[in-house]
Symmetry: C2
Subunit: 353 residues, 2 copies
């Protein structure tokens, strides 16, 4: 026998029928085989270094023990921890992940989806959902077990795991208000993305609830969750809303862009402008100034998403929405507004009335 040993090799070595060898090797069916035979088979398998061929098994069992993971942009620092969490949760249960980067591109997304389907994945984790998402709707229509991570579709199609953004936004607004800010701007992420949309909604709501005036709290929509978009949105704010003393960025990448634009404009953070991010991505604490942000455990998020998916695949009913706890991490980028800035802001808003 040359090459990788197969079940037949093991059976031959143990002098039993392949079927018997299979039963002896599998926990669940082992009881149907006599202890002596089990011993012989196990010994033979061990001796030959037998590993079951997962492809053949998958074909027969109609269960590939693989799942497809669609990530919009792996270079966005919040996704790697999610991927890690997913693996963490899949691996002990014998599952493995196919990972694809979709670049927020419909065509690439579809190609990855088809490729994974052809490979008979048992389910999908979509971390790339838009609020209205054709592909995900299609997966739903096809009845493919799936879970949404981080972002969701407007229609509730699949279970969804994310951080409790609403709570995070409230903590941010509360923190800024307590520091004394009255003019807070929000740079929202793309509105076709549930995270961008919901955070903006929450912002509008909590700003009002905490006694700030809608007029003093502008929302600027960024084109993407990245530094460039954050930078150009910041320029708009500095130009159109000079009274603003704090910026709540839709996520940490946008916040990085904010910090850069402020530096460029000679506006000092946090003295002249407080900045808050969202997600607490790996480098947030290492920026200068270190970033006040809301921490969500990406790893936990990924692990939970994978767990829900595996349950769904196994046919177990589970909750459809899991919101993970979030935590406001206060660092150097937020501080009370300058006294001068405050009175200036008052003047400005007074003048506008």
């Amino acid at each position: 026998m040359v090459g990788i040993p197969t079940l037949d090799d093991v059976a031959r070595a143990a002098q039993v029928h392949p079927g018997t060898a299979s039963r002896a090797l599998n926990e669940e069916t082992r009881s149907k085989v006599s202890p002596a035979t089990v011993g012989r088979v196990l010994a033979a398998a061990d001796r030959l270094g037998y590993t079951p061929n997962a492809v053949a098994r998958g074909l027969r069992r109609q269960r590939s023990m693989t799942v497809g993971v669609l990530i919009p942009d792996l270079t966005n620092a919040i996704f790697p921890p999610i991927v890690r969490g997913i693996e963490e949760s899949l691996s002990p249960r014998g599952f493995t992940a196919f990972v694809a980067n979709t670049d927020n591109d419909d065509y690439r997304e579809r190609r990855a989806f088809e490729a994974f389907r052809a490979r008979q994945v048992d389910g999908f984790i979509f971390a790339n959902a838009r609020r209205d998402h054709g592909l995900i709707q299609e997966a739903f229509n096809l009845g493919i077990p799936s879970v949404l991570a981080n972002r969701r579709t407007d229609k509730s199609l699949f279970p969804w795991v994310a951080g409790d953004d609403d709570d995070g936004v409230e903590q941010i607004v509360k923190h800024l208000v307590e520091l004394g800010h009255t003019h807070v701007a929000h740079i929202a992420g793309p509105q076709n993305n549930s995270a961008g949309f919901a955070r903006a909604e929450s912002f509008r709501h909590f700003v009002k609830q905490h006694g700030l005036r809608e007029l003093d709290c502008p929302v600027v929509i960024a084109d993407a969750f990245d530094t460039e978009s954050g930078g150009s949105a910041t320029k708009q704010i500095l130009h159109h809303f000079p009274a603003v003393t704090a910026i709540f960025a839709g996520n940490d990448m946008i916040a990085v862009g904010v910090l850069g634009a402020l530096r460029e404009a000679g506006v000092h953070c946090p003295v002249d402008m407080s900045v808050v991010g969202f997600n607490d991505m790996p480098l947030a604490k290492d920026l200068a100034p270190s970033l006040t942000t809301v921490a969500v455990s990406g790893q936990q998020l990924g692990a939970m998403a994978a767990t829900l998916l595996l349950d769904e695949i196994a046919g177990v009913d589970r909750e459809r929405t899991v919101l993970l706890p979030v935590e406001l991490v206060v660092r150097e980028s937020t501080a009370p507004p300058r006294v001068g800035a405050l009175s200036l802001a008052r003047q400005a808003s007074a003048a506008r009335e």
Copy 2:
């Protein structure tokens, strides 16, 4: 017929034998089937929405069209672009990647390796090589097609793709020397890692070649390629080598740690200390000060690694080592040493003699 259509379904619909349908569907064998039949089969396949079952095909062909990718730490910003490049290169050739995070942990690494082997991957891309690496040696002994990305083993086992570190280090040293630095420290990455090791070697070499004195150019070994290790190494340098006016960090993450430690110690970068990183990771340009570093295209690196692997799988002979061009990106973190610092350094080194 309910569920996903199979080849048999297509054959039945086209009124031909499955074997014939298979030949009609496959480019290479299509010529063995009459044009009329090809038409009927293709139409039937199209009508039913047939997608070949890649698992079944893989079983028969003894070629799964998948590859395993082992990444040491996906949250290290240099790896996501590599993964992306890998996918970019695999996908058009019909291959798909299994990705696993090894966390530099032997056990997890081995588990991922075994899991991927059981799934019959056609080859591996190892981005996690240590200079002496048992698992990779094993893969070599087993004759599994593989390629090393970024890091390599001391023994030349598999083809290797990486940036031209030697050139990068020379450019860094030259840049610093031209700025007027004479006392340059290097914070090297772990020495069991070829990148950490080779960069340190190159540093020692080029520092000498450019007329600096070995004594003035200490090398401190960091425990890991991360910010914490960079921070504590910086403290050592500040304490033991006060004459140093520039630090070349083993990679960008270490450099981030350096910047943090300098800030903490009240040492101003770049006025009091120049800092250089390595890799030009996504956020390097957004740090404050923005980081002078050596850019290597991770995406290109990944794409090349995948290409070499696919060639190897196909049995095509290719070069065994590919060094990608690198580029020094000068940003704000490097500047000429302070005049005071320079003379201070001279004094210090004079005193030592």
